[in-house]
Amino acid sequence: MTAMIEVAGLSKRFGAIQAVDNISLAVEKGEVLGFLGPNGAGKSTTMKMIAGFLEPDAGRASVCGFDVATHPIEAKRRFGYMPEGAPSYNEMTPLGFLRFIAGVRGYSGQEADERIKTVSRSIQLESVMYQPIDTLSRGYKRRVGLAAALLHDPEVLILDEPTDGLDPNQKHEIRTLIQEMAPSKAIIISTHILEEVDAVCSRAVIIARGRIVADGTPAELEARSAMHNVVSVTANEETLAQILEPIAALNKIARVEIDGRRLLAIPADGADALDDVRVLVRQRGVSVSDIRLERGRLEDVFRTVTTARTGTGAGSAQ
C-alpha cells in the first residue's frame, strides 16, 4: 500500500533564504506525524506546499496518490488543511462559513446540514454558530478553522499549529479529538509545543533550517537525549558523598554528576543501570528518597538537534 501523504525532495527558496531544503516524508494511514522545529524552520512552508498553496522549486508532494501540482482538485478533495492562524471570513458566522465550505466541497441541503451538525458538535462550536466570527475568542476562531478542515471527514489532515492560542482545556479537547480520528486518517500537525508530540503523535519529525534533522517515534527521539537512561538518585548530601564513588565504579556507568541533592549516573552506551544502582544502594544500607531512570526529554533532543546541526547545515549549504 502506498502512503497517504508522500513528499519527495521538496525544496523552496525565498530570496536568499533556503526555507525548505530537500525534504522527503511518507505518512501512512493511522499515523499522526508531529512536525517540530524552531520558528522559521520551514514547517509552515512545507505544509503549504503539501496543501498546494505554494509551488515548490523542486520536488513533489502527493496526497492519496494524487500529485498536488498536476491533479490539484483531486488532491484537495481528499485532504483537510488548516492554515497557520486558522484564517476564516470574519464577517460570516460559523454557520455561514461552514455552509460555504460545505457548498464548495459539493454538499448541499440535508447532507450539508448533517455534516455541519456533526462537526460542530464534535468540536463544540454549537453555542457560537450564529455569532460573527470576528466577535469570537481566539479559541473559537481556531475551532472554526478546524471545523472547516474536518467538515468533509477527509482521509488526510494537515493542521498547522492546531492548538496554538488555546487554553489548556481546549488543547486537551483538540488533542483528544485528533487521537480519536487518528486510526482512520493520516495526519500531519505542526507544533512547537513538545508535550503535544508526546500526547498525540505516533511519529515526530524535527526540522531545522529547512532540513529534517530527526525522524522517529517520540520514544526513539527521547532515547537520543543525553539524559536517556540516566539513573538519578535523590538523597541528602552526606549520603550522596558516600555512594558517589561506588556508583562511579560500576561497569555500566560512564560518569557521575552531582546536581544539588540529585546524583546523576550517566550510563555507558545508554545501558539500563537502574537495578545495579538499586542493589548497590541497598548493600550500603543508606537511605535515599528516590531512585529513578530518566527517560530523557524531547526538549533536550530538540535543542541538541536544532542548534547543533544548524551550524553544520549552514556551512555545507554555502
Partner: protein
C-alpha cells in the same frame, strides 16, 4: 458547478453584510443624479433622452468601480483567507470568475437602481427607449471592463489602497485614450495606424458609440475582450502568488 455558485454567493453576500454596498449605492446614485442634472443640464436641453445621464458613467466608474473591486483579492491576501480559498477544491479560474461575476452583479444592481431617471424621461417626453436600453447595456459592459481591471490589480498587493490606485491609473489610461488631449499628443509623432489604435482603445469612444444607439457588435466585443484580457491576467497573477 455548485462550487462556483457557492463562491459567487459568498462573495456577493459579503457586499451586503458590511455597509460598503449601501454606502456605494447611495454615493453612486447621488453623484450620478447631481452630474446628470447640474453638469449635464438634463432639463435645460429640452430633449427627451438620457445622453446627459450616460455622459458621466465612465468618469464615475473610474473612481467608484475600483473601490468595489479593490478588496476582491487584496483582502483575501491580507487576512490570509486566500490560503484557505486556494487549498479548497477550487481552481484559480473558478475563483477569479466567481469573484468577478459577484462584483459585476453588484454593479448591475447599482446601475438598475437608476431606473427612476428612465421613468422620468418617459413621463416628460417620448424618448427612444431602444437607445436607452443600448445605453444601459453599454454601461454594464463598460462597468465589467473597469471591474476586470480592478480585480486584476487587487491581486497585486495586500494593501487595498495600492490596489485602488493602480486600478484607477490603468482604468484612466483606457478611459482617456480617445480624448482629444491624448490624441493630439500622440498625433504629433505617431503614424496614422497607431493613432487609430489608441483612439479605438478608449472606453469613452466605445461607450459613446453604443449609447448613441448604435449597438455595434464591435464596441461590445471590445469591452468583452478587455474583460477577458484582464480576467486572464487576473488568473495568471493568482497563480504567480503560489510560486512566489
Amino acid at each position: 458547478m455548485s462550487t462556483a455558485l457557492t463562491l459567487f454567493r459568498r462573495e456577493f453576500v459579503s457586499y451586503f453584510v458590511t455597509p460598503v454596498a449601501y454606502v456605494f449605492i447611495v454615493i453612486f446614485l447621488a453623484l450620478l443624479g447631481a452630474m446628470t442634472f447640474f453638469l449635464g443640464g438634463f432639463f435645460g436641453r429640452g430633449q427627451a433622452d438620457l445622453a446627459p445621464f450616460f455622459a458621466f458613467h465612465a468618469w464615475l466608474y473610474l473612481l467608484l468601480v475600483p473601490a468595489v473591486s479593490m478588496r476582491l483579492w487584496s483582502d483575501e491576501r491580507k487576512t490570509g483567507t486566500i490560503e484557505l480559498l486556494l487549498t479548497l477544491p477550487v481552481s484559480p479560474t473558478q475563483a477569479v470568475l466567481a469573484k468577478f461575476f459577484a462584483a459585476w452583479t453588484f454593479a448591475a444592481i447599482a446601475l438598475a437602481l437608476t431606473f427612476p431617471i428612465w421613468l422620468s424621461v418617459n413621463y416628460l417626453g417620448n424618448p427612444d427607449n431602444g437607445v436607452i436600453v443600448a445605453g444601459y447595456v453599454g454601461s454594464l459592459v463598460m462597468a465589467g471592463a473597469f471591474l476586470a481591471i480592478g480585480s486584476c490589480f487587487s491581486t497585486v498587493s495586500k494593501n487595498q489602497v495600492i490596489a485602488f490606485v493602480l486600478s484607477v491609473i490603468v482604468s484612466l489610461a483606457f478611459t482617456v485614450a480617445g480624448t482629444p488631449l491624448v490624441l493630439e499628443f500622440v498625433s504629433g509623432w505617431a503614424p496614422r495606424a497607431m493613432i487609430d489604435v489608441v483612439a479605438g482603445l478608449s472606453f469613452i469612444a466605445n461607450f459613446d458609440a453604443i449609447s448613441k444607439g448604435v449597438l455595434d457588435l464591435v464596441n461590445l466585443v471590445y469591452f468583452l475582450s478587455v474583460m477577458a484580457l484582464f480576467l486572464f491576467l487576473n488568473v495568471v497573477f493568482v497563480n504567480t502568488l503560489k510560486a512566489r
